[in-house]
Assembly symmetry: C4
Homo-oligomer: 303 residues x 4
Amino acid sequence: MDQLKKRLKIKNILVRQCLSECLGTFILIIFGLSASAQVRTTQGMKGQYLSINMAFSVGVMVAMYISRNISGAHLNPALSLCSCVMGQMPWAKLLPYCLSQVLGAYIASAVVFFMYYDAIMDYSSGILTVYGANETASIFATYPSEFLTLGSSFLDQAVGTGMIMMCYLPLVDIQNDPVPHNLVPPLVAVGLLGISMAMSSNCGGAINPARDLGPRLLTLCAGWGTEVFTAYNYWFWVPIVAPMVGAVLATWIYVIIIQWHLPEMHLPQLEQEEPRSDLLPGTGSHRSVETAFENGLELSQKL
Amino acid sequence: MDQLKKRLKIKNILVRQCLSECLGTFILIIFGLSASAQVRTTQGMKGQYLSINMAFSVGVMVAMYISRNISGAHLNPALSLCSCVMGQMPWAKLLPYCLSQVLGAYIASAVVFFMYYDAIMDYSSGILTVYGANETASIFATYPSEFLTLGSSFLDQAVGTGMIMMCYLPLVDIQNDPVPHNLVPPLVAVGLLGISMAMSSNCGGAINPARDLGPRLLTLCAGWGTEVFTAYNYWFWVPIVAPMVGAVLATWIYVIIIQWHLPEMHLPQLEQEEPRSDLLPGTGSHRSVETAFENGLELSQKL
Amino acid sequence: MDQLKKRLKIKNILVRQCLSECLGTFILIIFGLSASAQVRTTQGMKGQYLSINMAFSVGVMVAMYISRNISGAHLNPALSLCSCVMGQMPWAKLLPYCLSQVLGAYIASAVVFFMYYDAIMDYSSGILTVYGANETASIFATYPSEFLTLGSSFLDQAVGTGMIMMCYLPLVDIQNDPVPHNLVPPLVAVGLLGISMAMSSNCGGAINPARDLGPRLLTLCAGWGTEVFTAYNYWFWVPIVAPMVGAVLATWIYVIIIQWHLPEMHLPQLEQEEPRSDLLPGTGSHRSVETAFENGLELSQKL
Amino acid sequence: MDQLKKRLKIKNILVRQCLSECLGTFILIIFGLSASAQVRTTQGMKGQYLSINMAFSVGVMVAMYISRNISGAHLNPALSLCSCVMGQMPWAKLLPYCLSQVLGAYIASAVVFFMYYDAIMDYSSGILTVYGANETASIFATYPSEFLTLGSSFLDQAVGTGMIMMCYLPLVDIQNDPVPHNLVPPLVAVGLLGISMAMSSNCGGAINPARDLGPRLLTLCAGWGTEVFTAYNYWFWVPIVAPMVGAVLATWIYVIIIQWHLPEMHLPQLEQEEPRSDLLPGTGSHRSVETAFENGLELSQKL
């Protein structure tokens, strides 16, 4: 056992973190897409739209508990980007994080595809399509409503991802009397549930580039064809780009309207810290901007 | 960055608090109305009545976490009024608070209008009406049922808002062994969910003047016409006035039946405090009445 | 203000406790019955069976937060009975507690009747009946299914109430590593939600004599006639008696199978206490049996 | 009373633990199957698929609170197996644990059968069958969909049980900054809710050999005949074997990807402990593997 551990234990911190993000995103997606497949293939007999929303939300909670102490439980390239923008994560880590998240989502989609293979084949009579009444592509990736203009779908994705940040930031900002670290996951999950129930009818509520791109790649490989990317005039880029924009904007709004004006009363014991530590937040007025993301990330850089 | 912060940081406390209330109410309303738009425009295919109730509830939680440490997270003019009646907030702040809340609700309604513009146009065939099968006004503001008398709707709104106070007060009253401050938002959200599920069929369950007036003003501006105010014999004043009355009455019932009889055992360490501090609750028997509202408000006056 | 407090403050402890139970039960019932009225009178358009279950559950949470530090938040004669059986409450208090609970439920039913008067009249075409497709009596009290035998309904009510005790006892038993006192209400509420979803189709899932008798008396007075008591062969006694029996049996099962075998490790600091204090649990092996109910009761006897 | 306690108190630790597991599983199953019976026999009028998922979830929470401090609240043979594989429980206890769980599930099924006897007879016109539109066997045990291949159902059960472990392990792993012990039950319950909503349409989502075998035995005895075991080509072994496989695999994935790389920072005060104590986790690098299961088990071995 100890032998095995010595051989298999990963020395490289970034590889550890990427594995953790990959496993976390795998769990998030397997919950969400399974529920999606269950509701669709039973035509609502064994679930409803609400249960898909709830399953994604539970998936986020479980995934955050799994990965938060290794990689910070980003699970979403938009969150990783904010983390870089705010100076919490080196830019060099952004791409590995994002790729790990997409990979986790891809593997999860594959597992869901095999688990629900019989059901999907039964439901779709064996014809995997992107359009039509029996289409099954939207079990995996998101697609816009017929009537939706590009602007509306971009706004929808940007606002939705912004709302995630509005939910996440006060929960981890140490100047804002945050909840205990180990209770953050269920509260973020509740916030996500709200967003899923409120902003998913226009274009599926991906609000996470990895959640959308990973499953889309799976459907490309598994038999739905290139239409999964070309559909709706190459719409697939919207749930990749818009969440990035929305997340960064929301972070700035939070920082300017809320964080700068919070009393600095929760930090007395940190004042004596060294003026730059990887394990602890920085000094001066930026402190809480930076520490908003310290839920795991900073910690793991020290490993 | 520090430069930017120095320039943009707001010196005036009241302005900070108003911005915080505005952002908080914005978030509350954007969750609730988006869900309302999603359920209506998909005709229940992507959500149900329950998901609207739940989305408002999640919105309250997220909004309270955002604004509680700057402005006390009132998010509701009725709560601000109680705060003044109980001597927790100077009367001079009441109007700015209420206006900020209405403004936040108005802006949120506008964002929801743009996000769901395509969907609303598709659903209503482009005709924005207050009455009829395809009416879309009630996505935003609340309207009474056809059969409802004025007395019933007033009672409905007063009791509903009273129940919010019954939920909120024991959670923040320091004499009543309250929950930790940073766990109040999800519990208030659960209470609100109960009220939404139980007291919203008569007349929409606004129980918050800002939640109703802000979106109503938006519909006035966005093309629904003056009927949004004249409908049902100028009914719009009920969800503005009744919540105020109900909230104050419920607060008094709580104080008289519960608070006066609580043991004063949780406060030993506060007895030594100076006999009037803005940061800490007052002295004597009124203490907990006053401190019931101290969740942020008192604190921020000190900033 | 101080003047007013001096005049209105209640000196008698039992009266305080009864008022608190009355207010608590009032809140519990107003949540539950409002939801019931909302779902019935809108024929499921603005709610569903699940929302009635959830509203009762939220009502329990809010009511427990209101009354737990004055009267122990029994809210249910079956719980008060267990409390007496276990020696936690003097038998002399049982009747006043139960009457207060029934009174609170009665007043709440009356408020719901007025709030939903227009809706009930519209739904039932003005004819208040106990039987038939448009019956409205079951909005308030519970009635058995047509096919149900007396034995099944008695078993149903006894098991349901027993499950409440199975949920409640480990949460407050200080030997069982209980949750913090101020987090008990939401967890009991979740337990009750489970029972409502699982054991309410046979005969309405009252599992609380006050919840059933109070509203039944209101329907007697408000125009449904004596049939509310005579219906189904005077069935009304079942939700009064069976919960009492089930609660006591379940308490004993918990004590024998679980409590007697718990390690006494959580109590070291209490060992030094005086051998009989009203404020703290008793001594010896009975300690946690007695303290299972100390969530407020013991405390308030000291007032 | 003391006399009674002396006579009835169980001296043998294993018997205590088995009784505790039996009572815990009894509660879990009585919640879940009652909801299942309620939804089926009312044809969805008093509940929906989601309420069955939720009731099982609530049942897990209540059952965990009941039994966690005596027997560790396994409630699932797959969890007991993992516990043995990881060296947390002696292999000799595995069979008694599993039998107790099956027994608890069997007794609960019998109680549900009597509670819903009238309803089941009314719904099925008195004919208890495993196949057909009015079949009632699936109220109790799980059966696969018509179209399902053996491989898919095995994968489904293995992945589902694996997800339970992914939810459970970080919540109790002391190296992973776990939540307070007494808040684990509701969080595991939420995880289970997600799995029930996402992975139960293929073959009922048993993910627990005791949950499936106990009720299946009851249906065998209560009149459904041997078909409950022979149906779908003796499919009953899948929800017994697959969860075992899935749980062990998931535990290893968690250990290798997450646990080995966690900082050992949460344990400073434990380093001074004796190098092998039954009450406290072991030493060296295995510590948290072993302690992942210490939620009650280790503790009770000391009794």
